[in-house]
């Protein structure tokens, strides 16, 4: 088994190769405005460094987001197209789950919050419970202004760029900022083993920013 993981939901363009037991190669580049440029070259360099070719892949996993739309789509369409071209399945995983899994080793048993940059002064967020390294999501991902989250939620150890942008609102930052595809790959391997469904579906959480002619007329 050889799985290619891709995530473009955060400021990192991140890809990794996983063979079911370990990470064979991983590469990330931080640039929130250059997902289109970087994702395919990073995949090519990971494959080259592991002396593998695209035809060796047996599955692809992508981060479903939530994340800024334009960048998010780049990773998803790359994964979907490669899966189609190579005739292998494509799985989708909530990117906030990946961040929570990345942070799990650094927090003791308890809850944590993932809050990432949703632009427009908002965060994408979700709450998680961590028990002996196992991470469970407690709430469906949502998008909100950080000040609109309750105090007890914001007080949780917080993963993602939310605390970088609003340090006064998130008092307990965890130094995990962007998605790491190596962890995304591991989650995909685990979920596949557990027989979980992993549909690919971009988590936009916002409707397109436009009014229909009927809505405009009603104003």
């Amino acid at each position: 088994m050889l799985i290619l993981a891709i995530d473009t939901s955060t400021s990192a363009i991140t890809v990794a190769l996983h063979d079911d037991t370990r990470v064979l190669a991983a590469a990330s580049h931080i640039d929130p405005r250059a997902h289109t440029e970087w994702v395919s070259p990073l995949i090519a360099s990971c494959l080259a460094s592991a002396s593998l070719s695209p035809a060796d892949l047996t599955a692809v996993a992508v981060g479903n987001g939530p994340g800024p739309f334009t960048g998010l789509r780049v990773g998803i369409v790359t994964g979907l197209t490669m899966g189609h071209a190579l005739g292998v399945p494509v799985h989708g995983i909530c990117s906030l789950d990946v961040l929570a899994a990345q942070a799990a080793p650094t927090v003791r048993d308890g809850e944590l919050l993932v809050a990432t940059d949703a632009r427009r002064k908002e965060v994408y967020w979700s709450r998680y419970a961590v028990r002996s390294g196992h991470v469970e999501r407690l709430t469906f991902p949502a998008v909100e202004r950080p000040a609109d989250l309750t105090d007890d939620v914001r007080a949780l150890p917080t993963v993602g760029r939310g605390p970088v942008l609003w340090p006064e609102l998130f008092p307990d930052p965890v130094p995990v900022l962007d998605v790491d595809a190596a962890v995304l790959a591991r989650l995909a391997v685990e979920r596949a083993r557990d027989g979980e469904e992993m549909p690919v579906e971009p988590l936009y959480l916002r409707r397109p920013d436009a009014l229909t002619t009927a809505e405009r007329a009603a104003r």
Binding site: A34, H35, T36, E37, W38, V39, S40, P41, I43, A44, S53, P54, F69, T70, R73, V74, G75, I76, V77, T78, G79, L80, T81, M82, H84, A85, L86, P202, Y204, P208, D209, A210, L211, T212, T213, A214, R216
Partner: protein, 347 residues
């Protein structure tokens, strides 16, 4: 025949997800998924709606194109994709998908200019492009007069719109007349039942303008003039003769486009005029271009309407030419360039 390059082209610069496959100069398939119905509710193209539709339609459209052409992806020699100009978020979906195909299949990738593709598409319709060709590209996004000595690496801009695109003017006037989006086909249909009774202004066609903006266009004054005319009628409590207004407006647009295009042919020694873009489907434009070209001894080439609007076939047609002319492939880190200049054929 089978030694001719087999190229798959992807187009996502606006609201059409297009995938075409060309072998040499033969079009095998032109698969298009349009999100125009999604945009009609908004009265215009909404970039985010278009981008979401591209993501949903991208792989299914590739799949459909291959199935209908009886081509397996592994048989392809190259991938080409519109890398600009266009809506940034829309372009990125196609560019990322094209890179993923090229990477997966281990074949070259060509990121090409959308406008150059509009010119190249005529190769699969009417054979090799005469050199130079003069191209008039008119749509909701562009209004350009181009001199094309070599579609793969030498395109010169003679002029373009200084305000609204021609197709945009059709959409705006349609709205004034209470006709649905997209306006072009509706105005065309209305105009057929009307008379040219109103003398609307022809932008940038007189005196100083012909010196400074010889081959440029301007349609925003025309649009304003139509809307003032209609408002005056309404204010006077008189009925608006929709068909006559449509015919008169259309006549003004078409008159300027064809007059400047034929003049450009004469001044730049082009024996051929090609018209492309969605507005090329306009029946009056085709008619007037034909009669003016005939009078000037110029050969008019207009691809069929389906190849004039945005599609993947045009991108595949240009990609095939890039391969045949031995142009170097694009790099895998090529960007989507929403404001790619028309003079840059490849990125």
């Amino acid at each position: 025949m089978s030694d001719q390059p087999l190229v798959l082209g992807i187009e996502t610069s606006c609201d059409e997800t297009g995938v075409g496959i060309v072998r040499g100069e033969t079009l095998l398939v032109d698969a298009v998924a349009s999100s125009v119905d999604d945009h009609a509710r908004f009265g215009g193209v909404v970039p985010e709606v278009a981008s979401r539709a591209h993501l949903e339609e991208m792989v299914p459209t590739i799949e459909r194109a291959c199935r209908e052409a009886g081509v397996a992806l592994k048989d392809l020699d190259a991938i080409s994709v519109t890398s600009g100009p266009g809506l940034a978020g829309s372009l990125m979906v196609g560019v990322a998908s094209a890179k993923a195909l090229a990477l997966s299949l281990g074949i070259p990738l060509y990121g090409v200019n959308h406008l150059a593709s509009h010119v190249a598409v005529d190769i699969v319709e009417h054979g090799p492009l005469p050199e130079p060709t003069l191209a008039l590209l008119v749509s909701g996004g562009h209004s350009s007069l181009l001199l094309v000595p070599d579609v793969t690496n030498d395109i010169r801009s003679l002029g373009s719109t200084i305000d609204d695109a021609a197709g945009e003017a059709f959409d705006k006037v349609a709205r004034v007349l209470g006709l649905p989006f997209p306006g072009g086909p509706h105005i065309d249909r209305e105009a057929r039942g009307g008379q040219v009774t109103i003398d609307f202004p022809r932008g940038l066609t007189t005196g100083r303008d012909m010196e400074r903006h010889r081959f440029d266009f301007s349609f925003s004054g025309l649009k304003t003039s139509v809307s003032r005319w209609v408002q005056a009628r309404e204010a006077a409590g008189e009925p608006v003769p929709v068909a006559d207004v449509a015919a008169s407006f259309q006549e003004a647009v078409v008159d300027v486009l064809t007059r400047k295009a034929v003049l450009a042919c004469k001044e730049h020694g082009a024996q051929h005029l090609q018209i492309g873009g969605g507005v090329a489907a306009n029946s009056r434009l085709r008619e007037m271009a034909q009669s003016r070209c005939d009078a000037a001894g110029i050969e008019l080439r207009v691809p069929r309407p389906g190849l004039c609007t945005d599609n993947g076939a045009m991108v595949a047609a240009l990609g095939t030419q890039m391969v045949l002319k031995g142009r170097e492939a694009s790099r895998l880190d090529l960007p989507a360039d929403s404001s790619m200049p028309v003079t840059q054929v490849q990125s």
